[in-house]
Symmetry: C2
Subunit: 452 residues, 2 copies
């Protein structure tokens, strides 16, 4: 059987298990990811591409990687989209038969236009799902605000599966409702729980379709608004948004490298994204991935690993609304003839690591699966899901790089995702450091054995 022929010898397994134990011991006892993340979240805070905070974060990452003792630290220019929220959005519910105006906490979706001709004040039509839009007569929508109250599907144990569908609710809300005559769209936040935080995230327009303002309300507010509309279908909402797209801005990916000793033209990458949405502190999304990636270099050094390949921690810029950093990184790698063997991304939250998403050929998959026993002592079991990551995706397109995504526990992620709730206080030190150790152990094995 193929699997057995790929199984590494028991002596090697033993050596490997000792190195991996060192990596995890160091992470749990002295890991530095948590302390780094605190600085990023509390001293800089959220950092949308093009913002002054994003520029601060680039400086911070450069310094932090150098402090770690990376052999080489450099940054690479990336031009990024620059969307700006402007003054805080404002929304109010005007009942049709009373003067008791009810404030509504809205958060513009990333990329939305504002209410540029002044506040909107108009009726609202609730729509239960994107799919059901087709069955609603355009006359019922025309001139109104569409309230898209589609729930994230709770039944998926892996919440990222639910997000695969729910993403479209947010991404397509304007381009699906504008052609029907909607003047704005308010979505139920993409979040499986009932809470009071609106969640933002990227949405899109099409060149041929009118651009209408798009924003989110919390799941609790969505339930309340739905109940209000049942009692008072003629209520109006006043909506004021000041967001706008500015010209592209100059920014950077930041790279820290441990120089390879044997395979000096080959590269392994571990990365996360430095930018975040402009709410909360970008703690889980994706400060966690950035500090874990930096920590991989630290843990390998502390465990005495002398890498064959060049090993890079990359803090990518602009994952959230453009992926310019990921695209630029892959193009430059190709241009410079840097052969990227494998890339691991951490961008699914700083929760307890459970395994990896994998994108590669069957031989590579089987090689990884043969290492499963080395991860079992750390309760890392899941190596079956297909996937990589947004930032490292372009490397596969350019160089057929083997991709992995760190898979943490997913139950809490979308409660926090793109919301004011994504703050450092919601990070657990042990969970975060374990994620760094898990990636470091995988990088150690790929560096030692390759993937061919």
């Amino acid at each position: 059987m193929l699997l057995f022929s790929l199984t590494i010898s028991s002596q090697a397994q033993n050596e490997d298990s000792i190195v991996i134990r060192k990596i995890f011991d160091e992470a749990l006892q002295n890991g530095k990811a948590y302390d780094h993340l605190k600085v990023l979240c509390k001293n800089i805070g959220h950092r949308l591409s093009g913002s002054p905070q994003a520029a601060e974060a680039v400086k911070w990452a450069e310094k932090a990687m150098a402090d770690f003792g990376a052999d080489t630290v450099f940054k690479k220019d990336v031009m990024v989209p620059h969307w700006d929220r402007g003054a805080k959005e404002k929304a109010e519910i005007f009942p049709s038969k009373s003067r008791n105006i009810i404030p509504l906490n809205v958060l513009a979706l990333g990329g939305s236009v504002g209410t540029d001709k002044g506040p909107l004040l108009t009726q609202v039509i609730e729509v239960k799902s994107l799919a059901s839009l087709d069955s609603i007569p355009a006359k019922d929508i025309k001139g109104k605000i569409v309230f898209l109250n589609e729930h994230m599907d709770a039944k998926y144990v892996n919440t990222f599966e639910a997000y695969d569908h729910a993403f479209m609710i947010r991404w397509a809300c304007a381009r699906k409702t504008a052609p029907l005559g909607a003047v704005a769209v308010i979505i139920r936040s993409v979040n499986p729980s009932l809470d009071d935080f609106p969640h933002t995230g990227v949405m899109s327009y099409a060149d041929t379709i009118k651009k209408i303002p798009a924003c989110a309300i919390s799941t609790n507010d969505a339930d309340k608004l739905s109940a209000l509309l049942k009692k008072d279908p003629l209520l109006k909402i006043k909506l004021e948004m000041h967001c706008r797209m500015l010209p592209d801005a100059a920014s950077h990916n930041v790279v820290g490298q441990l120089n390879g000793t044997a395979l000096k033209d080959k590269y392994l990458v571990v990365g996360g994204h430095l930018d975040s949405w402009d709410t909360g502190e970008g703690a889980h999304d994706d400060g966690a991935g950035v500090v874990q990636s930096m920590e991989v270099l630290n843990l390998l050094k502390k465990a005495g690993v002398v890498p064959k390949h060049n090993i890079r921690a990359v803090a990518f810029m602009n994952e959230e609304n453009g992926n310019r950093g990921g695209i630029e990184y892959a193009e430059l790698a190709q241009k410079n003839n840097e052969k990227h063997i494998a890339a691991i991304e951490s961008d699914a939250g700083g929760f307890t690591p459970r395994g990896f998403f994998i994108k590669g050929d069957s031989l590579q998959r089987n090689k990884i699966l043969a290492w499963k026993p080395l991860f079992a002592p750390y309760f890392i079991h899941s190596f079956e899901l297909e996937g990589g990551g947004v930032d490292i995706g372009p490397l596969r397109k350019k160089q057929n790089t083997f991709l992995m995504g760190l898979l943490p526990d997913t139950q809490r992620y979308f409660d926090i995702h793109h919301s004011p709730n994504d703050v450092f206080e919601n990070i657990n030190r042990r969970e975060l450091e374990l994620g760094a150790a898990t990636m470091a152990a995988m990088i150690y094995l790929i560096d030692k054995y390759g993937l061919e």
Copy 2:
């Protein structure tokens, strides 16, 4: 190979996977454990054995189990130890060379005596570990408060392994220091993180050894006190504790049962404990286990399972400081000739389920292991650890019952355990409901296939 011979047929696996999918779908979409736990935590709160709240909790559990549609609900008398904290403890640090008294937030350990002859005011000796006590001359300890500043070992990925050792720090702190002349003992809380919550828990005396007051301080306060003692070894602490042991009190286990249709003299149990420490709300420890156990009955009914065995959800009383409920339950089962085939306990927190602890013979283990593929879609992978649970332990002694303990993710548990931090707000709905589904799926399989 034995494993293959025990593997159930693929058709049966398919039927089973459909039932298990129903159980998980119901739990994630309509699970009631979370709503029940909210009532227990917010309307009743913490509920130490013998307290009025414990009596309230018994009433609540009876009613909640009946509301679930259990075929039979009953309670069984248990006499329980009744320890009472009395008025809030008070401690202050008196520097030797200044009048700047520093308050210290202490929490008496469960079972401790008070400072019955009035507040203590005396010097303090810091001891780094229980083990190092032997090397300290008794004259250095005599008349002083011992500050036992032993850290919970961070390097165990499974924090319950660290607790196996750390438990002794708390349990034996008085009986190890009193013979050396200590007048009281303050321990560093058994908690791997740095925070501001003192953690209580059971401690013990020996009849032949003087009973001295014992309390805990938070890990942050332990670091502060240690630093203060380095600068000022002659500082004193004033300690005032009003706790005391009262006569045993009458209480109850609460049992809800789905009646068996084929094996009417045989029983399967799923349980947690209704009592909690008298701080926080007993949310993870072990309100979670109680509501999950009740929810198992609900999920089985909703999935259309017609049980062969009698299936009981048991809310045990007095796990924390006596295990009287567990002992009484097993004795009664033996007396009534109720044959208990298997028991599953949930008492390790309401976090994402990862697997089960198991205590049984190798044939039973292998049978369980053959079911692993049925749990993999739900990210339940860990079936290797030895263990059962405190409440169900006596069933094994009496009847050689097969035991399992639900194993949730362990990273956050000891941050919360026995502290004011164990509140409903630290429960995640999906994680809690998934734990109930995991136990329901296991009970379904054991009920269908038996363990012989």
